[in-house]
Amino acid sequence: MKKTILALTLVLALLLAGCGGAPAATPAPSATPAPSAAPSEAPAGNAAETAPEADEATAAASPRAAANEISIGIAQDFDSLDPDYMTAAGTKEVLFNVFEGLVKPNSDGDIVPAVASEVVKSEDGLNYMFTLRDGVKFHNGDPVEMEDVLYSVERRWKGEDTAAQLAALSVIDSLSADGNVLTITLSEPSNEFLAAVMNAYILPADYDKQETSPVGTGPYRFVSRTVQDSLVLERFPDYWGTPGRLDKVTFKILESADGLVLGLQSGALDLVAHLSSDQTVQLDQDEFNIAEGSMNLVQALYLNNAEKPFDDVRVRQALCWAVDKQAVIDLAFDGYGIPLGTSMFPSFSKYYDESLTDYYTPDPEKAKALLAEAGYPDGFEMTITVPSNYTPHVNTATVLVELLREVGVKATVQPVDWGTWLEEVYSNRKFQSTVTGLTSDNLTARKLLERFGTEVSNNFTNYSNEEYDEILAKALRTADDAEQTELYRQLERNLTENAANVYLQDMADLVAVRKGLDGLTFYPLYVLDVSTLGWTA
């Protein structure tokens, strides 16, 4: 009975929150992690397939099917198209089809050769030899030369433009070219080096119009862009690899959640990713398939460990005992989502320790006892600061308020806009708690774990644990993969046991795909590969 009342209150609260008419956005974190991984240790992408089978070529198929093109709706505008300044996750997600590095990720999360046809790593792990692939062309028709490759890698490594540098490339000691072989020498071995190379896109040397008409080597090339309206790509006929199936792909920007749904219903759009469950239920099942992947992010109630009362481990643990993750998933996400217990998600199967998920089972009594022990028998007041444009995080915070009330903690939700969140919460660390998702456009576990080291600059939760710092230092030093994996797992356990944050879930990624369209492929990265999409004849 009590649960029913709670559920009803929450539903009402969410309805009211929904009426705010805020421009809802699907969660596309503006984060920009630089991926990193060695090919050997790629996570098995359990979210990698799930292509909705097109059971029939429906009569209601999109008018674009005949022209062999599609239109995809996205919830936020692209930022700069210049790969050096492209920081929004939503831009990288799409331009993944236009730009390639010497190596690129595949849908299993492996790093495979791209502009380079072969990569050889020396015994000591200090030298990487990249052999350029024959016949790779830029979208402007020019062949890719060693000069272009040197230019492209160098500018991201130590170019004059500091803002464009990739921190992960700073391990490079020198570059040398010999014929069609580029040798990169590192100052120390690095398991994450290849993934960093993946993000150093190969661009034509000294071409300065990337901003307005980007040129890369990917399966699709840029046609046009209208700011805040659309971006058009077309198949690149001279692509070196498997060519794209569709002739033309148009991305339409519609910030409003309702606008996206209406666009699908009206036939203006054929595919929209990152939908919420209440958006998908509005769609006609005869017209659309809903594919479910995972966002590959760690959504949690992140706590400022340096701020009272969260500097006390007992208080943090109490919150963990108080919060029923499944209730959050059921109430705010209609049951879609995978509960998590630490800063790691299932796509990284090698590192993921499932046993940590149920380390804390919902137990309000235990939570109250711990709070009393810590000196808060009557609970306390706390603020949850959330970025207001990410509706899922706002909804989660609303549910958390109700769950925490059960143990006497009076939480209030404080929505702030993204710019403020980034400045106050993420950079200045002036907050008590926040709900957000930490991404992993990263093919190793490193980015998810490194950020909790005491001295690390992006440790916005101020987590500080001596044991953690020691294991982390050891894990980053070792070149042995098995040992590193074991150390990463120890880090995860440390985060759970010390209740660094209240870990919640890996959010589901719901994609609406018009029937007749197939080939949707999920990556363990935040990318949307359009080259595999096509209409069934």
């Binding site: 984060a31 300044y85 996750a89 803002a163 659309s230 219903q265 203006a268 759009l269």
Partner: protein, 327 residues
């Protein structure tokens, strides 16, 4: 100096001062709110060093006054600057959106004017009768309808069921002019419904109060037809306040279109403003805000001139009484 010339000069002066103040306030507002454009651009993974380098490149490390006057100087020489997040000239980004938003506002305005004035007079006829009751309810309902909701209803009804236009797929003026107009028309319908309701109510109230005035009683007692009095005298007098109200409406419409632009997928200025604010894209925001300020003053001036055309009494005291009143 003639009265007309003085009036024009006064208006131009008002326009300049308004735009200057608005731009200064915009800059000040950004100075006060938290959020750093460089950090917003670079996202969560940027190092402090990178943020500082970009701040330097964007001149954000310069003092506030220097940045403002540099912008002002650029503005007067026709250079609106470069957008932070798009790294392209601001004017090129907003010009195409400006025409759509203006068109959307103008269509809404025409709808409001053409529908609400006759409807206001018509609804006066029902005052106190039984038929007036549902009218009041309907009017209240229309006023309370938020544009995002009408946007969804109209998109669903005309877009998905009747397929008169395709929500989410704005064709673009250059590609398909009539299709674009149709799309904008439905946006304008959503935008104008609550304002039509407001104008009707206002029109009706003014007509009622005019009808109770002594001159109307006198005219009717002298044997004039009630309807003739209404059209010849009352309507004209009522229009003055309605025109002022419509002037305000015209000014408001540009901003009010944001939600409709978002729901129907019209790539207008309002949407762009909202996005640019959250990206802390100062050059774009300043430019749009100044354009909106210009529009507001212009709408006020137009309303003022029309009022004077209708009511000669206002002409005698040009400028002194009415100035700024409509803005």
């Amino acid at each position: 100096m003639t009265a007309a010339l003085r009036y024009i000069l006064r208006r131009v002066f008002l326009l300049l001062v308004t735009m200057l103040l608005v731009s200064l306030l915009t800059y000040l507002a950004f100075e006060l709110v938290s959020g750093d454009p460089a950090r917003t651009m670079l996202g969560t993974e940027a190092t402090e060093e990178q943020v500082q380098a970009l701040r330097h490149e964007m001149r954000l490390d310069r003092p506030f006054t220097e940045r403002y006057f540099r912008w002002l100087g650029g503005f007067f020489s026709g250079d609106l600057g470069i957008s932070y997040s798009y790294r392209q000239p601001v004017w090129g980004l907003i010009s195409g959106k400006l025409e759509l938003t203006l068109l959307l506002s103008l269509i809404s305005f025409v709808l409001i004017t053409v529908i609400s004035i006759p409807l206001g007079v018509f609804s006066y006829r029902f005052t106190g009768t039984f038929a007036g009751w549902p009218r009041t309810v309907l009017n209240q309902l229309c006023m309370a309808l938020p544009p995002f909701f009408t946007g969804i209803l109209v998109s669903w009804g005309f877009g998905i069921v009747l397929k008169v236009f395709t929500p989410g797929d704005f064709p673009g003026l250059r590609n398909d002019f009539s299709g674009s107009l149709r799309h904008l028309f439905f946006g304008a319908v959503c935008l104008s419904i609550p304002r039509i309701a407001m104008t009707v109510r206002m029109m009706r109230a003014t007509v009622i109060s005019e009808m109770n005035k002594a001159y109307v009683r006198t005219a009717i007692s002298r044997g004039n037809d009630r309807a003739a009095v209404l059209t010849r005298h009352v309507l004209k007098n009522s229009l003055v306040s309605v025109v002022t109200f419509l002037g305000q409406t015209l000014a408001e419409l540009v901003g009010a279109g944001i939600v409709v632009e978002q729901v129907l997928g019209i790539p207008g200025l309002g949407r762009f403003l909202v996005t640019s604010i959250s990206h802390r894209d100062y050059p774009v925001v300043s430019a749009i805000v100044v354009i909106l300020a210009f529009w507001v003053v212009l709408a006020g001036t137009a309303a003022d001139l029309i009022s004077q055309g209708i009511d000669p009494r206002l002409r005698l005291s040009t400028g002194r009484r009415r100035i700024g009143g409509a803005a």
